[in-house]
């Protein structure tokens, strides 16, 4: 169970301590039962606490963002969510629509949202990142993807603890700005990528390499 502390985590825990990750609660959203089983297991084995729901509507209900009003009646406040992972293509509310609703909420907009999709469509990726998604993962999601997310969240929480800005493990936009004024500084989340693109099969890293190729 998470402590009732405002941030829901303890400072000074070593990064790779399993108990540190166990304090992180991920809300996963996917309409496919198979995928829900897999993502739940991926997250649990990486020591996250997991809640899995089958639709965007259910996700909003769980968060207490029902319909038009923000209802906190009956919502378990000790189950604070640290990360939302959602499938893109879902009937009813898509992952993109869910992302928008979360980013529109003053209460929940700080929660990082990761989009998962089986289709590597650049316009789709762009749209999600522009709307504030932290990351876009290509399905099938692997352990290495989840491990990377774990590192990213923990660095982020550490940064908040220290009063820093969000972790900027790789900030390629700095290079771009220094060398080439044709590329304006992008929003942080769209390019700064908390992983090593050379080892990542994600769509985001392939987008990075496209941009790098254009500059060179």
């Amino acid at each position: 169970m998470l402590a009732a502390a405002a941030d829901g985590f303890k400072p000074q825990l070593p990064e790779d301590s399993p108990s540190a990750a166990a304090e992180f609660h991920v809300l996963a959203v996917d309409d496919s039962y198979v995928d829900r089983k897999v993502i739940e297991r991926l997250l649990k084995i990486s020591s996250f606490k997991v809640t899995v729901v089958e639709s965007g509507t259910r996700a909003l209900q769980y968060l207490g963002l029902d319909g038009e009003k923000q209802s906190s009646i009956g919502v378990d406040h000790s189950a604070k969510v640290n990360l939302i992972m959602t499938d893109y293509s879902m009937p009813g509310m898509t992952g993109y629509e869910l992302l928008k609703k979360i980013k529109e909420s003053s209460v929940f907009r700080e929660i990082p949202v990761v989009i998962m999709s089986s289709e590597n469509i650049l316009t789709r990726i762009d749209r999600c990142l522009e709307e504030g998604a932290e990351e876009f993962l290509l399905k099938p999601v692997k352990l290495s993807d989840v491990e990377r997310l774990k590192e990213f969240i923990m660095k982020g929480e550490e940064g908040k603890e220290n009063g820093d800005k969000k972790s900027k493990k790789r900030k390629r936009s700095d290079d771009y700005n220094n060398n080439n004024n044709l590329f304006p500084s992008p929003p942080f989340s769209s390019l700064s990528h908390p992983c090593d693109p050379s080892s990542s099969p994600s769509a985001l890293s392939s987008k990075n390499s496209i941009l790098r190729a254009e500059i060179e």
Partner: protein, 157 residues
């Protein structure tokens, strides 16, 4: 004696997987599923596969119904079912089945009726083959678990 049985079962399992990889039926995502199975979740692979079989059969049945309609073909619905089947197939590493879905979807996108009918047959055939092979895998896994259980009775739940 049981040790030898366990080793042989292990070899059988690997031979089966190597064969399926070589044929392009499965890809490395299946290995990822295996990695997610451990003492805390000892039946993970067979649990996921059960769900997969159930989901796939429902989707295949829906596809067949849609194609059996003599009057109107709902291509849009077919596309939706195919995407779902593709997604879950890819999640368990069923590469070849996923590719058959892709070909089917191409026929759907082109409103190609005979193409769709052929694709459905291929898909049902491929699914049948995959299910049989995965059942073989599950059986070997269960035998291995039994062999280990008999050797180390204290580990039984």
């Amino acid at each position: 004696m049981l040790g030898l049985g366990g080793d042989r079962l292990w070899a059988d399992m690997n031979r089966l997987l190597a064969f399926l990889f070589h044929q392009g039926v499965l890809d490395e995502q299946f290995l990822q599923l295996q990695q997610l199975q451990d003492h805390s979740s000892p039946n993970f692979v067979s649990d996921v596969l059960s769900i997969y079989f159930h989901e796939s059969e429902r989707l295949l049945s829906n596809l067949r119904s849609l194609l059996m309609d003599r009057e109107f073909w709902d291509y849009k619905k077919m596309g939706i079912h195919l995407n779902q089947l593709m997604g879950s197939s890819s999640s368990i590493g069923a590469k070849r089945l996923r590719n058959v879905c892709l070909a089917f979807r191409a026929s759907v996108d082109h409103n190609n009726r005979p193409g769709c009918l052929r694709a459905l047959e291929m898909l049902e055939h491929e699914y049948c083959y995959l299910k049989n092979k995965l059942h073989e895998y599950i059986q070997i896994e269960q035998q291995r678990a039994l062999a280990a259980g008999v050797r180390y009775p204290a580990q039984n739940n």
